[in-house]
């Protein structure tokens, strides 16, 4: 086995459309921030974006900015700036990189989008702790800096079955957000607009789910590494028609590839499931490394985090409460194990890679014996790689490479 040959990775044509989608999104925000013609809300990536849309806010998601700090490899130099003001190097490196960037007055947006000098200033910040508590601290810091209100949903953790009490509690918290948001927006919430936003969000979610499910085909028409950028509209655009249009095009191209048996890689010998965050600063490197081993990382828990199948426009608050609580990251280990088992089966994978991200315990599912339990139950081997989403000081490329090569070598020899 050798990973020296130049890998052939077939790029999706629609990835260019996704690039334009993101450019339009950031320019619209920048314009609103500069002109003041539309209010801006900052929202956590799995926060209640639909409420904000319905109230006419343009919505900015700081996590996408942090991911850009990762992909641009600016994060590692910025994280220490946040450490120096009391934010530990052991907490979320999205938070520390983003605050570090703010302190230094730098942004990758300025490098990518000409004319944009900074992220758009918020009028309000809205969080949901369903993903972790760090988002609350992150948003509160900005709330103080910008002197704007911060409102949030305090979610449950380790949820087994999502019960009506969970839904009632979260739904009530979401309803309670409306009044302070109305004050900032200077207008009332129109329930018809909320229903419309929820309907659009649900349609976006369904389309994104279908796009990801296309990877079940052999060979898979897309890779996990494609998914980490293609998911942009599901994160920042859910609740808008534009996101739906973008995914219709993507789905069309993926289905065309499936019809032609055209894989994302020239040769797909092994199929891998990825659990945990991507290493943003190594997306390209990892993509090429796997491709050169004729291995496609076809699916992940991470990219599926923006599937909200419970959304129902006829019952917006309750269905949002359910959808945002049903997410993988909110759930207990029993649910998570079954979820991953179902995915392994659906995508018919040969192995699992767990990314143990040092600063993201909530998205590292390998720390309480799950790899061993799943290997025992399914017979599917796994590998854990140590790294981080943004802090490149926390990974060793050589160790990762040797581990991955040895894992694929193992799959090959036991094939």
């Amino acid at each position: 086995m050798s990973e020296d040959k130049k890998p052939v990775i077939r790029r999706l044509n629609t990835s260019r459309d996704m690039g334009k989608f993101m450019a339009d999104y950031y320019y619209e925000l920048d314009d609103a921030a500069k002109s003041g013609k539309q209010k801006i809300a900052w929202c956590t990536s799995v926060g209640p974006a639909e409420i904000l849309r319905a109230m006419g806010f343009l919505t900015y998601f700081p996590e996408t900015h942090s991911a850009m700090l990762g992909t641009s490899r600016m994060a590692t130099d910025l994280i220490p700036k946040a450490n120096a003001i009391g934010y530990s190097p052991d907490i979320c490196s999205y938070l520390t990189a983003d605050i570090g960037a703010f302190l230094e007055g730098v942004t990758p947006l300025a490098k990518v989008f000409k004319g944009i000098e900074s992220p758009p200033k918020p009028d309000v910040l809205v969080f949901n702790t369903n993903q972790c508590r760090d988002v609350q601290d992150w948003f509160n810091w900005y709330g103080e800096k910008f002197n704007v209100p911060v409102v949030g949903v305090h979610s449950y953790v380790g949820v087994g079955d999502v019960t009506s009490s969970h839904v009632a509690s979260i739904s009530k918290q979401m309803e309670n957000m409306v009044e302070p948001l109305e004050e900032v927006a200077g207008r009332k919430l129109d329930m018809d607009e909320l229903k419309q936003a929820v309907a659009l969000s649900r349609e976006c979610s369904d389309l994104w789910e279908k796009c990801l499910a296309a990877a079940a085909a052999k060979p898979s028409p897309l890779t996990f590494f494609d998914g980490t950028t293609l998911m942009g509209p599901a994160v920042v655009g859910r609740g808008t028609q534009k996101a739906i249009d973008a995914y219709k095009l993507l789905l069309e191209e993926l289905e065309e590839r499936v019809g032609q048996s055209l894989g994302a890689l020239e040769e797909e010998r092994f199929r891998i499931y990825w659990d945990g965050m991507p290493v943003w600063g190594r997306l390209g490197m990892h993509s090429k490394m796997f491709a050169s081993l004729n291995t496609n990382v076809i699916a992940s828990t991470y990219c599926s985090s923006w599937i909200f199948s419970a959304l129902d426009p006829e019952d917006p608050f309750n269905s949002m409460a359910r959808a945002y609580t049903e997410l993988f990251i909110v759930r207990g280990d029993d649910y998570k194990e079954q979820y991953i088992k179902d995915k392994l089966d659906f995508f018919d994978v040969d192995g699992i890679i767990y990314h143990d991200a040092k600063t993201c315990p909530n998205n590292s599912n390998c720390r309480y014996g799950m790899p061993q339990r799943l290997a025992e139950e399914t017979g599917i081997p796994s590998l854990t790689i140590n790294g981080d989403l943004n802090d490149l000081r926390l990974l060793s490329d050589e160790q990762t490479k040797t581990n991955v090569e040895a894992f694929i070598e193992q799959l090959e020899e036991n094939h």
Partner: protein, 258 residues
């Protein structure tokens, strides 16, 4: 002019030492050499191969195939193919112990725990995380702090009567603990045994072990007391091949035969 028989070569360019094994088609080890890898991996590999071939009474033209492995596996210009050190250690150990085994390899920079089934198939492996505590590099770092040569550590550890336990995970902080123990009048053999114990602890915590445990690697080759300490710690007899530092190179030579 060629030597008397055709051979296969395995080259293991480790972070600390380069090892070459030359074997015949009957999987017999004919020649080998070990040298500090230094900064020119390619030149070191060339030298080790040449010396090993001499020992095997063979020369370059007798080599049918060469496989490289280890940290510098891509720097071996004369290798036809490369394999990971995990695969090579597995293959090398299974040659001597053809049964279900857990291999503990303690190298200069990496520790590995590799599990094989009774057919020699790898069923899993783990490497140390990014940190090099518990590897050969840890002992290399500690020897100068105690002002002793690296090669004296095994002899000193054996003399210990009251082992000093070090608490830190980190090599740098362990160094501080060593200094503190020196200040407190602890004896060098007791500190060295404590350092060995640290190495063992880091390896033991990596994985659960099966019935048969094999230990390999340069650290084991030069510090056999580590093996008996590990046996005491895990309560199992440990198997050690004749050339524990060479199993990766031997495994690479076996791959070359395939």
């Amino acid at each position: 002019m060629t030597g008397s028989r055709l051979v296969y070569a395995g080259v293991d360019v480790g972070a600390s030492r380069t090892k070459v094994a030359v074997m015949d088609a009957d999987r017999k080890l004919l020649g080998y050499h070990i040298k500090k890898s230094g900064t020119d991996f390619s030149a070191t590999a060339d030298f080790c191969l040449e010396t090993s071939l001499k020992m095997a009474h063979a020369d370059q033209a007798d080599i049918i195939n060469t496989v490289s492995t280890g940290y510098g596996r891509k720097n071996v210009s004369f290798a036809h193919e490369s394999k990971t050190e995990i695969g090579c250690h597995a293959k090398g150990c299974f040659l001597y112990y053809p049964m279900a085994i857990t291999i503990i390899d303690i190298g200069g920079q990496d520790n590995k725990v590799i599990k094989l089934d009774d057919k020699g198939r790898r069923i899993g492996f783990k490497m140390n995380r990014k940190c090099s505590a518990g590897t050969g590099a840890f002992l290399e770092e500690m020897a100068p702090r105690l002002e002793i040569p690296l090669e004296a550590m095994n002899g000193l550890a054996v003399q210990s009567t009251d082992m000093v336990k070090l608490g830190s995970f980190c090599t740098v902080f362990s160094g501080t603990e060593v200094l503190e123990n020196i200040r407190n009048g602890k004896k060098v053999p007791d500190i060295v045994k404590g350092l060995f114990y640290s190495v063992i602890k880091r390896v033991i915590e990596m994985d659960a072990f099966t019935e048969n445990v094999v230990m390999t690697g340069g650290v084991v080759a030069h510090n056999p007391y580590l093996v008996s300490m590990t046996e005491t710690y895990i309560g199992q007899k440990i198997l050690v091949p004749e050339h524990p530092q060479l199993t990766g190179a031997i495994g690479a030579a076996l791959y070359a035969m395939e």
